[in-house]
């Protein structure tokens, strides 16, 4: 069913941006030339980095596992082509921070020889969803829209057992990017087959495919492919709708496309699955199809190479690890207008200082921007509270208030204004008449808050550790006192009790008693040594000495008990 009458909803604000998509849709998707070296970061996804299982000098075949997943939120890495592992070392990776990260470097042999792949699954419907998810995980599939979240997790309906709506996101709302557009035009059948597999894993009631109305060719191709599939597998294709959605940036953002297609709102601080919805990307669907029907791991993706800074903008099927430089060469090199290298689109992408970086699973576009396409930022002026940012914010935030608080470093207040609901789409900064890099301020505030939370966690742990230690010390002290008390009690008992048990002590006691009595009889204090007989004097000093010794002995005893055990 391609019901055009199905209702659509709106989200607040958004922008009508110049698409600039035509420049890269002129030619069909071409295969990228195999480079001499492939640089494969161990982390091309959200979560724990993969762990290498090869070493320098190992021969690898295309599709061979070279690093396995560690932990739950993690996926493995496979060799994108055959060759030899040259080194495992820190390499520059495409990341906004410009950091280096551990990578496996493979020198390709040019044969591009596949390993012996496991047998494909003839009928995925007979496969249990959990086994299906395992297959998806083993093939290293992550969300190819840009975030790179391991896909197998998003194919798990969790405690719900089944979900209501599976959304396939074909909005591709960022200007310039056309990789999903071209994928839909050329591989609609694979996309839909992949969709059916994901639907099986999720047991989804309905599937909605949202395509922005600036992609009529892609929409037509999808509808045609759908009609063909429906003729063969009528039973599987009920409740699938291919829908044209209005071209409003950022309609392709997850929360926004959920609202547009279903009218539901993803809860603040929540995920679509919280309301029974899961979104997947076009590329992810194709990768799923390849993983299940051909047993191929994810080793390449479609990347848009575009902008006025490159001679022949186009879409390439790129093996992971291919340096951007090689792709630019294949596209005819830079034009004289090249000014900035942007990874991703012009609204949410990030710049890189160099083109000597590998393509990873999450790169959908390399925008070689000219001065006109990405000019130097204009000098910032004071916020005049015009509220243009509020008008366009697709989440209905108040960016001008958030700016105020992030500027003032009031990180508590800015969270009251829902900082963490910001999707960093860039609409606010684009319309700001004062040229305030608002998104930059919000990212800064988020990072600061995360850092503070980490510090707080650390100090919490330290405080707890201190409290535990204090508790242990107190407990030991109490135990010691208890032991002391018992000992003293026992001592007292033995002193007050039978004399036979300790004749020496009893004798002393008796002697002291006698002296005391005698003193009493005489009517003098023991300390009063005036007018004592020689005999008395001698006895007193004798007793005194013994008393001293006794005290010393007791003290020693106490000391040994008091000595800390730790």
């Amino acid at each position: 069913m391609t019901a055009k009458s199905k209702r659509l909803w709106h989200f607040n604000g958004g922008l009508h941006l110049p698409g600039n998509k035509k420049m890269s849709t002129g030619q069909p998707i071409a295969r990228a030339r195999l480079p001499k070296h492939l640089i494969l970061p161990l982390q091309q996804h959200i979560g724990e980095p993969a762990e290498p299982i090869v070493k320098a000098g190992d021969k690898v075949l295309k599709g061979q596992l070279i690093a396995h997943a560690t932990g739950y939120v993690s996926v493995p890495v496979h060799a994108p082509s055959s060759g030899t592992v040259v080194e495992i070392s820190e390499q520059a990776v495409p990341h906004p921070s410009g950091m280096s990260a551990p990578c496996i470097v493979i020198e390709t042999d040019g044969h591009d020889e596949w390993m012996t792949l496991p047998k494909p699954v003839p009928d995925y419907k007979k496969m249990n969803p959990s086994a299906l998810r395992n297959r998806i995980r083993e093939t290293g599939i992550v969300g190819l829209g840009g975030a790179g979240f391991p896909s197998f997790i998003k194919m798990n309906p969790g405690a719900r057992m089944s979900i209501d709506t599976l959304i396939l996101n074909g909005a591709e709302c960022e200007p310039y990017i056309t990789c999903d557009d071209m994928l839909m035009r050329e591989h609609a059948k694979e996309i839909l087959s992949g969709l059916l597999i994901i639907r099986h894993a999720l047991q989804a009631r309905q599937c909605l495919i949202g395509i922005e109305d600036n992609k009529p060719e892609a929409y037509a191709a999808m509808v045609e492919a759908f009609e063909n599939i429906r003729k063969q597998q009528a039973a599987d294709t009920d409740n699938i709708h291919i829908l044209k959605i209005p071209t409003i940036y950022p309609a392709g953002s997850e929360k926004q496309i959920v609202t547009v297609l279903t009218g539901k709102e993803v809860p603040s601080n929540g995920l679509p699955i919280d309301i029974g919805i899961v979104c997947h990307n076009m590329g992810t669907a194709v990768a799923t199809y390849h993983a299940v029907m051909r047993s191929q791991p994810l080793v390449s993706r479609i990347v848009t190479i575009t902008g006025q800074g490159v001679k022949n903008p186009c879409n390439l099927d790129v093996p992971f690890g291919t340096p951007i430089k090689d792709l630019i060469e294949q596209c005819g090199g830079y034009t004289e207008e090249i000014k900035r290298m942007i990874i991703g689109g012009p609204m949410m992408g990030y710049t890189m200082p160099t083109d000597e970086l590998p393509i990873t699973k999450t790169i959908n576009c390399v925008l070689c921007a000219s001065e006109q396409e990405a000019p130097d930022p204009r000098p910032q002026m004071p916020c005049i509270r015009c509220g243009e940012c509020t008008k366009v914010c697709p989440v209905q935030l108040l960016p001008q208030q958030m700016y105020w608080y992030s500027h003032a470093k009031d990180f508590d207040k800015i969270q009251d204004y829902h900082l963490f609901d910001c999707i960093e789409c860039g609409c606010c900064a684009y319309v700001c008449p004062s040229h305030i890099p608002l998104v930059h301020y919000f990212r800064y505030a988020k990072t600061e808050i995360w850092a503070q939370e980490r510090d707080k966690q650390k100090s919490d742990i330290a405080r707890k550790r201190h409290e535990f230690r204090q508790e242990r010390i107190d407990r030991e002290k109490a135990e010691r006192e208890e032991r002391m008390r018992k000992k003293k009690e026992a001592l007292k008992k033995s002193q007050g009790g039978s004399n036979e048990l300790d004749p020496k002590k009893a004798a002393i006691q008796a002697a002291m008693e006698r002296v005391r009595k005698k003193n009493e009889e005489i009517g003098i204090n023991p300390k009063n040594t005036d007018g004592l007989t020689e005999e008395q004097q001698r006895k007193i000093s004798e007793v005194d000495e013994r008393r001293k010794r006794l005290q010393q002995h007791e003290k020693d005893n106490e000391h040994s008990i008091n000595t800390p055990i730790d």
Partner: protein
């Protein structure tokens, strides 16, 4: 190849503070022309004096604050304040009055609070109110538009700069109370509205001449709305607030309370609704907040005009509502996408 890094979004921005300020100034042109036709060269002199004062004060304070001077001076905000203040002042106001009001607006109301974007009160209205309270006599030196009498360029200059009135005329006999002022005086003399409105200072639906000024500001305001420089919430809420309150009392007693249309097209109502209350820095920034803020100004304007000590109340109403903006903004935050109802 090596490239420079910047932060997203990268697309060329389409908007600029300077463009906004300029557009507001352009939108004032019909109103300024109308004022010029009705009041003569005084309007021209006021604008010149105010602009020169505003730009000098702005430059001076920026220099004292150790800020860059050229760019803020070019952003048009000081010029806009000057023009708004100049057309709010009486056309024959002496030069020192305009200078004092403008300097106060720029130095005290704007820069002492931190400059553009930080001032809680509308600078032009602060300047106006300071003049109104300090120099009440000079603030009533309005030429009466319906008399059709005009001073020449040199005569106006002599009045404003030298305080010399033309030999044949007394300034007092030339200037008249504004319609709002006259209305107030007449009402206090137990005249009824219908009696007062037959006098020549009343026009078709507002004060004679003043109604055309209101209309020309309305046209400029509509252009601003069309260009997306301002949004409808504040002007519509303010005009509705004024209109509905006036209609309510006029319906109760049409002899004591003037008709609602008269309120809309007299005094500073139109100028206030489209050009003063919409000053983004001092207005509410949420949509619901804007409605409350605008309606508040409209209602307060009516209250001050009808029962207060001054004939017009737009300036006071705007300043009073400026005070409430932080609170209004706080309680009118829009519901964030996906936020659970609290």
């Amino acid at each position: 190849m090596h490239f420079n890094n910047t932060s997203s979004p990268f697309l060329e921005p389409q908007n600029d503070v300077t463009i906004i300020m300029r557009r507001v100034i352009y939108a004032l042109i019909p109103g300024v022309i109308c004022c010029f036709i009705l009041f003569g060269w005084g309007v021209f002199f006021n604008i010149i004096i105010a602009s020169v004062t505003a730009l000098s004060c702005e430059a001076l304070i920026l220099a004292l604050r150790g800020r860059a001077i050229a760019r803020p001076l070019n952003d048009g905000s000081a010029l806009l304040t000057a023009i708004l203040l100049a057309i709010a002042l009486p056309s024959l106001a002496p030069w020192w009055l305009t200078v004092t009001a403008t300097a106060f607006a720029i130095i005290i109301a704007k820069h002492l609070y931190g400059g553009l974007g930080y001032n809680p009160f509308n600078p032009a209205m602060i300047g106006y109110v300071v003049a109104l309270i300090s120099f009440p006599q000079q603030m009533t030196q309005w030429l009466a538009p319906h008399t059709g009498l005009h001073f020449s360029f040199s005569e106006t200059a002599a009045i404003q700069f030298l305080g010399k009135t033309p030999a044949t005329l007394q300034l007092d006999s030339m200037t008249m109370a504004t319609p709002l002022d006259a209305l107030k005086t007449q009402l206090s003399l137990s005249q009824t509205i219908s009696e007062i409105s037959t006098t020549p200072i009343f026009g078709i639906f507002g004060g004679a001449g003043w109604e055309w000024i209101g209309l020309s500001f309305l046209i400029g305001g509509c252009w601003l709305l069309f260009m997306g420089v301002i949004r409808w919430h504040i002007p519509i809420a303010m005009l509705l607030g004024l209109f509905l309150t006036a209609m309510f009392f006029h319906t109760i007693d049409s002899d004591t309370y003037s008709p609602p249309l008269f309120h809309l097209f007299s005094g500073g109502a139109m100028l206030g609704a489209f050009f003063i209350a919409t000053d983004p820095v001092t207005a509410s920034t949420t949509n619901r907040g804007r409605l409350i803020y605008g309606a508040g100004i409209g209602i307060l304007t009516y209250i001050i005009r009808t029962w207060g000590g001054y004939p017009d109340g737009v300036a006071f109403a705007v300043l009073l509502m400026n005070m409430g903006v932080p609170t209004i903004d706080y309680y009118t935050q829009p519901r964030v996408l996906g936020a659970r109802d609290e």
